[in-house]
Amino acid sequence: MKKTIIIFLFILLAVFAVLTFLDKGEYGMEKQLWRAQKQFEQIARDPKAVPDQNYEGLVNQYRKIIQRFPANGLTRKIYIKIGKIYLLKKDYVKARAGFQEALTRYPDDPALCAEALMHIGNSFELEAKYDEAKTAYRQIIGQYAATDIGMSMPMYLITLNSKIGRPADAEKASAEALVFYDAIAKKNPETKYAFASQRMSAAVHFARGDTQKGIHLLGQMLNRYADSEMMTPQQIVLIVKTINTMSVANLKDYDTPIAIYQDFLNQHPRHQYSVYLQKTINGLKELKEKNIGIRFQAVPQSQNAQE
């Protein structure tokens, strides 16, 4: 039996050795990255209590991973990580150098470049260098508009200007944002960017105090994207809640949302969310009669139109 056990052990070890040898190393990299991430989280919990050598130690760890796996798809994200470590350390110059390295090395990756620029802008904000921050954010809008970060930037600029007490700049940013979102929708029709741009345009209108316009834009979205995959349950709930909040809570106007949902039901009587919208209409009518606050209907994940 001993001989048999030795043969079995040999086979198991041989299989292990062969499969380890054939492995391209991606798994090993993920393991090292995960361990580094754990250290990063530990530092992030209380950055002030962490000695300087821990920051440098983690940066060195990340640099070693880059050296060992230069061609790996995950490597590009490590430069962002290095920048974030220095952000935690409040060493903004080194942080920006890390983000800049990502920009320089991977100019063909718009999402990564947008993220790097966003962190660069953020580092300037932390130093209260708002003009430099805005330059970085504008660079995202100009060069990486068709990214998730790019889409959110015009809106963010409005918020930033308002936050730092520059209403004239905020007003200018909001006008630019409307032009930007309009252009994006025209340039990328029927894409997620067109969908997001319409939603963002509504948000800009709300920020400008043009509530009615924002509500109508969201109403248009409901009809336009009724059968689109982009109109997920979360999106429809978000749109309905926004319309209700802006219209009922802010304007005490029950009729506009009712008209929007009724119009939707007329155009899409067998839509999977018709029951949900009908209930919302009923709820709004009830609230209008009683003249009390708003309450939202719970929406199921999937609703049968035949119900």
Binding site: F8, L19, W34
Partner: protein, 292 residues
């Protein structure tokens, strides 16, 4: 092998079976094969998210679990889940383990009869009755799955209890927290219901129905004793259950590899429990036979 008085003492019977294993390690040979292929399957699943096996396993993992489970550390969840899945372990038990357990029982029978242990003969004996062994192993597995389904009804009922205090809350907590322990009991209970089937097939060369009849005949007189004898070795599995059911408490402190380690330790312990179960109950079966 042992006196009649010892036959109804659970601890004494288990001790006798263990000492038999030490004096006749040949009984362990079939279990060494079981351990080998269990380790091999574990190894293949361990490497499943990596090149080159990922080319085959990648699409399956992606479809069944999601993209993230192809990467560290989430791949360990898939390793532990798949390796310990009822489906995989049931198929292994019914298709392969049944045969090797049959071989080990044939070896015990030869030792009991004072015959020399010839592995080839034991393999031949099990092979001749493979169809019956297959069914004999499928019965406890099917029973366990059936009982688990019933248990699931209880769990589902407990889940709809909304109380956050009082008797209903205590009941809910008891049902939910005892799930892994109750599953262990169900496995032992299902094994106990058919434990003498394989010895009957191998030792008395019975077919499945004959083996079932003699199984229930023995159980009629000694079900409680049989269940107790099977429960005692199964208790060694409790630490694994405890560690697996409390991962949420220590998951941040423990490395993800622990999930894989627990899975392999769990299977090793299952094999050890099977060895003790079948050796002990075969010993008892032979004693009963000698009593006649």
């Amino acid at each position: 092998m042992s006196s009649e008085s010892k036959s109804k003492q659970p601890i004494a019977l288990i001790k006798t079976a263990i000492s038999t294993l030490f004096t006749h390690p040949q009984i362990l040979s079939p279990y060494a094969i079981i351990a080998f292929y269990e380790f091999l399957i574990f190894e293949l699943l361990f490497f499943a998210p990596r090149y080159p096996l990922v080319t085959f396993f990648g699409p399956i993992i992606r479809k069944l679990e999601g993209e993230v489970f192809l990467h560290y550390p989430f791949s360990y969840y898939v390793l532990a889940k798949w390796f310990q899945s009822t489906l995989l372990q049931s198929v292994i038990f019914v298709v392969l383990n049944s045969f090797f357990i049959g071989v080990s029982i044939a070896i015990i029978n030869a030792i009991n009869n004072g015959q020399p242990v010839i592995l080839k003969a034991a393999f031949k004996r099990a092979a001749a009755s493979y169809v019956h062994l297959f069914i004999g192993a499928a019965l406890p597995v099917a029973t366990m799955i059936g009982l688990s389904q019933l248990h699931e009804l209880v769990i589902n009922r407990a889940l709809v209890i909304r109380s956050t205090s009082g008797i209903y809350y205590i009941l809910k907590q008891m049902v939910l927290l005892s799930v892994p322990y109750f599953n262990l009991f169900l496995a032992v209970f299902s094994t106990a219901l058919f434990i003498y089937v394989i010895p009957g097939i191998i030792i008395d060369k019975k077919k499945i129905f004959g083996a079932l009849a003699s199984n229930f005949k023995i159980l009629w007189k000694s079900f409680g004793f049989t269940l107790l004898v099977l429960i005692l070795p199964a208790l060694i599995y409790l630490p694994v259950i405890l560690l697996q059911s409390t991962t949420s408490i220590y998951k941040d402190a423990a490395p993800p590899e622990l999930l894989g380690i627990l899975a392999i330790v769990g299977v090793i312990l299952s094999i050890v429990i099977d060895i003790i179960h079948y050796t002990t109950m075969t010993t008892y079966y032979l004693l009963k036979k000698e009593e006649k």
